[in-house]
């Protein structure tokens, strides 16, 4: 390409480029610009106000030697893997059940989707009561005659993540179900007929034929669920507030507490940079794989 062509190239289709300008600016300034600003300030010792007072990797040193951060990461990993798998599996099973042309499907769909209409804060408070040993499940089961029944996950460091998981799944599975149900409805009736003619059992048809065909729908669910997992914050605040002890802390909460309670912006920025990095490590290979796949098509 010669140098003479370039300006022409830039000016080609000018209205479209102008129209895209706000989007490009937003992406550059808000997303990339602010992220860079955060990363730069994570190398400073900013306290309450951001200051460019560089201290090298000190904030990261401290971050990775803080037990609370390490516990947070571990919790997020456990919660994330369990939540991801369980919400997809449960969501698909529910969607498949709803897809059996049952009566009152609308009613069931509404019931299943309903928790999603509640915020995580409300979800957390509701489950705090349900899991409270003096008022909730434990009390009810004991009332039925099982005097020694113990179910108190909110005050047990080993079980508290399950409490979070139960509440999180209760709230989030409905959405996955509905999206997957839409996906199931998109499967051509003829495929089912063909499978039936060949005498393939329904479960096998789901596993071998339907699920592979629903790959884009699963990808959407995956992205929605993972985004919800990484930013897990409000549910923890409402349900356990990180307790008992630090057993249910999460990275997002660490960031918030460092920035605003401890008045240590530098530490909070370092932690959020690590969160960004984690997301990039997961998303970049996936995105590359996806895009390359498309180009080959």
């Amino acid at each position: 390409m010669s140098g003479r062509d370039r300006p022409a190239q830039l000016l080609r289709n000018l209205p479209a480029k102008l129209a895209a300008l706000p989007m490009i600016l937003t992406a550059l300034v808000v997303f990339i610009g602010c992220s860079l600003w955060t990363v730069v300030h994570s190398f400073t010792k900013s306290r309450l106000l951001p200051k460019l007072d560089f201290v090298g990797l000190d904030q990261y040193d401290r971050l990775w030697s803080t037990p609370r951060w390490l516990v947070s990461i571990e919790n997020l990993a456990i919660y994330g893997i369990c939540a991801l798998i369980l919400s997809l599996v449960l969501g698909f099973v529910l969607a498949a059940l709803l897809d059996q042309k049952i009566r009152f499907e609308d009613g069931f769909r509404t019931i299943i989707l309903y928790p999603y209409a509640l915020s995580f804060i409300v979800t957390g408070l509701v489950w705090q009561w349900i899991l409270n040993p003096d008022f909730g499940i434990q009390n009810i089961v004991r009332g039925l005659g099982f005097e020694s029944f113990v179910f108190d996950p909110l005050h047990n460091p080993d079980q508290v993540l399950f409490a979070l998981l139960i509440a999180g799944l209760w709230q989030g599975t409905g959405l996955v179900t509905v999206i997957l149900l839409a996906g199931l409805r998109g499967i051509d009736e003829d495929i089912w007929k063909a499978a039936r003619v060949d005498g393939i059992p329904a479960w096998k048809t789901y596993l071998r034929v339907v699920i592979p065909m629903m790959r884009p729908v699963f990808a959407t669910c995956l992205v929605l669920v993972s985004a919800g997992i990484v930013k897990l914050y409000d549910l923890v605040v409402a349900l356990t507030n990180g307790g008992p002890g630090i057993a249910s802390e999460t990275p997002a909460k660490y960031v918030y507490d460092s920035m605003f309670n401890k008045q240590n912006l530098g530490q909070g920025f370092a932690a959020s940079t690590m969160m960004l990095l984690t997301v990039l490590i997961i998303i970049v290979p996936w995105a590359m794989f996806e895009f390359r796949g498309k180009r080959r098509d």
């Binding site: 309450l48 037990p67 307790g243 002890g245 630090i246 605003f260 309670n261 401890k262 008045q263 530490q267």
Partner: protein
Amino acid sequence: MTHSTMRRLLAGAAMFCTPMMAHATDLEITHWWTSGGEAAAVKELAREFEAKTGHTWVDGAIAGSGDVARPVIVSRILGGDPMAATQLNHGQQARELIEAGLLLDLTDIAEKGKWREIVKPASLLDACTVDGRVYCAPLNIHSPQWMWTSPAAFEAAGATPATNWEELKAAAPKLREAGKVPLALGMQGWQQSYLVSGLIIAKGGKDAFYKAYRDADADLLSGEMITQVFGELAIARDLSKGGNVQDWNLATAKIINGEAGAQVMGDWAQGEFAVAGKVAGSDYNCFIGMGGDPVISTGGDAFYFPVNKDAAITEAQKELAKVILSPEAQVAFNLKKGSLPVRGDVDLAAANDCMKKGLETLAAGNVIDSTEQLISPDATGQINDLMSEFFGSDMAPADAQARFAEILTGDK
């Protein structure tokens, strides 16, 4: 509604409004005083302010503890949407806001009102002063190191009522047998941190307290005495098992109901006892510190006034600062709140036994700085995290001690 009633109402409204019309300003005031006793105290302050100045107190209570409210307050100030006045604990919390020029300089009011002379102990005003300028109006003195006991709980268990930490430990087995929790403790780091400072004072007195929090003396922090403190903390962890409460006022409720033996909590707990109609000395008992020589920590609440563009608001802010230091407001507010006034010259004849104990200690000059004045919010937060971790797990006392020392030395 008939025509005449309407007119009468309007006339009434006019009469109510006219005297204030001239310079009435709405002041939005944020604070985190939301428990029963605290809310009653705020009402007194608001009434006093409105009666004296004719301005309007727009209450901006933020529910939750200071840990919830402070971020909201600070982000509003930083974000350019400042309230007219706000509660903060004096100390290092607001220092950077002052340095950034976001808080109103009250030096002229302070000089006119002779705050230097009336505020006792003077360290309270020092905590408001940066480079010789005054930036906050101290409202009360709160000492976090108090122990509250429930005589009813000890009686029900057939144990001798404890008057200090050692006696509580001795009575603990009997309390347990009777189904009482020996130590009511909210499972939040800041509440557990009071046990640490309380125990350091109990074991090592004033000197040890300053050596630990102000000087971060490495020898002391790794020494025998602090080891003992963490040993006691491990005992406190056992004594508080089964309490299952988060908020301090719910822990206090256990004392009020006689379900728990003792609670270590600041003197604001007194407001809860007052709201419940309990009498100091018979329904509940109070002890400064955890036994040993009584020492009052002079932390507390102060009002800060974010810089405002509106001159009318600035004027009203200064009037509020005057009201806060006025003897009437000091008495009315602190009696309800259970805290001590910041001026030594007001008459608190109506004070109950517990407050009188505090006042005597204050008058005798047995005071120390609060930890908020000595260490940064960062270190405070880290100690709180350490405490939640310690109390929420079976962490070894020695490990906790090592980390405690690390946090304090790292803060200097």
